[in-house]
């Protein structure tokens, strides 16, 4: 499953490109940020996690969030995804709020995020059911997604009959089935064993290559954060600032050999440097 990902131009079946919108020069749209955060403030009791925080995330990129423990990585994507309220500030997606766009969210704890009373297939199509998509079309869309991602799981099974990695893959498919404009993943592989983590990295890379969806990934593993990312967003301790926004532009698909390339090693070392500096400050 590792290197055999085809790089043919991904058909836009999973993108929302088809939806009518005001015509705009392609170049402008591509360079305009997808997510714009202005003046974000969040406090938990006396602790200030974010204070007047500004950030822009580019469209169609995979952005990894990395930083010291408790700096608010998960808090940030939870606020962007609208799971927890902000105290002040504004988060816009190409000018729209989170309620106006379709997005996917993948939880760390797949065991508690999936519905054990539904079969894998029914779990994946649940978001479509909420949108009153007829059953026949739901099945068709799941089939298309399965074929697109090359998933080989018996979808008639219940989640508890699947391995951890398979369950998380079902969670990711459930997030993708709505053709999200943006995909959030909160430490999606940290509950898996190492072997499964490596496999799932390849799965996620494939999903990203195939769909080109803007993806925000929280990770506590620097190697994983750099390996998967177009950009690594390094956060400082609270109140969090952007310690660095590192670009890593190695070609995809990346594989095991990528991990020993000079470019990868250099960028990982740089990120580690920034991280250590921020940890010592705390």
């Amino acid at each position: 499953m590792s290197a055999g990902v085809t790089m043919t131009a991904a058909q836009p079946v999973l993108r929302e490109d088809a939806k009518p919108e005001t015509p705009r020069p392609a170049a402008t749209r591509a360079t305009r940020p997808h997510v714009t955060i202005r003046g974000l403030t969040k406090r938990f009791g006396d602790a200030s996690i974010y204070e007047n925080f500004d950030l822009e995330l580019p469209r169609g990129k995979l952005i990894s969030l990395f930083g010291p423990n408790g700096c608010g990585k998960s808090t940030l994507i939870n606020m962007i995804a609208g799971l927890i309220p902000v105290d002040a500030g504004q988060i816009l997606f190409d000018g729209q709020t989170i309620d106006e766009i379709s997005f996917g969210y993948v939880f760390q704890n797949y065991r508690e995020a999936l519905f054990p009373w539904l079969r894998a297939l029914e779990n994946i199509e649940y978001p479509l059911k909420l949108r009153h998509v007829p059953k026949r079309e739901r099945r068709a869309r799941v089939e298309r997604l399965v074929a697109h991602l090359g998933v080989k799981i018996d979808l008639k099974r219940y989640p508890y009959q699947l391995s951890g990695g398979q369950q998380q893959l079902i969670s990711i498919m459930r997030a993708l089935i709505v053709d999200p404009e943006i995909l959030f993943l909160d430490e999606p592989f940290s509950a898996l064993d190492y072997e499964m983590t490596l496999f799932m990295r390849e799965q996620l890379q494939r999903v990203f290559v195939e769909t080109g969806t803007t993806t925000v990934l929280v990770s506590h593993d620097l190697e994983e954060a750099v390996y998967l990312a177009d950009h690594v967003l390094l956060l400082s301790r609270g109140p969090a600032r952007v310690a660095d926004f590192v670009t890593y532009d190695a070609a995809r698909p990346r594989n095991d050999a990528t991990l020993s390339e000079l470019d990868f090693v250099r960028i990982k070392a740089h990120c580690l440097d920034v991280f250590q500096r921020e940890v010592r400050k705390g």
């Binding site: 799971l83 009373w117 219940y158």
Partner: protein
Amino acid sequence: MKRLEPLLPMIGVVALITLWYLAVWLRAVDPVLLPPPTEAFRALWKGMNGGKLGADFLKTVERTTLATLIAAAMAIPLGILLGASEKLYRSVEFVIDFFRSTPASAMFPLFLVVFGVGDKTKISVAAFGAFLVILFNVAYGVMNARKTRLLAAKVMGASRLRVLTDVTLLESLPQTFIGLRNGVSLALVIVVVAEMFIGSTDGLGQRVFEAQQLFAMPDMYAAIFAAGALGYGLNLLFLLVERRFVHWSGK
């Protein structure tokens, strides 16, 4: 050896009956109080096949079932309502716990005054006891619904009502079944006690009591075994239903 493992539970049964035989054979207990097991089982067989015991058995089944149904019909909706708001539950928690801890038999006189001597009293005291047990379990089932699961539904765009019907209710089912199993066991206990002491003419409790009064010991043991089989059977029934409909329980 592996093939014989399903027979393990039988060892206890055989040991008990052997002990019983030994006690009879050694005259360790007065033979009037402890007849040989064969006599007790013969009484059970005859009683259940066209005898009075069978009719009493059915009467007790009927009362216990009715009491449990009434209790479940009231406790499940109310439990969901209370569980949906933790503050609401906390405000009535003490009252529920207090009456849950009160022996239901202590309520007999009160229910006698309200419902008179008859089936209504027996069924309603049993329903009262089962109600509190089911209520408490349903409410806890709802309150302990996995937060991540509720959040997952919300993040996918489910309305509050959809989260309740699609997630919370299903999340509470395993705990609800625990409540139902405990509830039906308690209802049976209360019904049997009520049949003994609240001017009853039928039911297993009455059968045990009457047999004892007449010193018809084989009949008394037969009625006790019938009551035991009923309790065990009801529990098993709920377990099977649970395994069928709440297949994810404990997984």
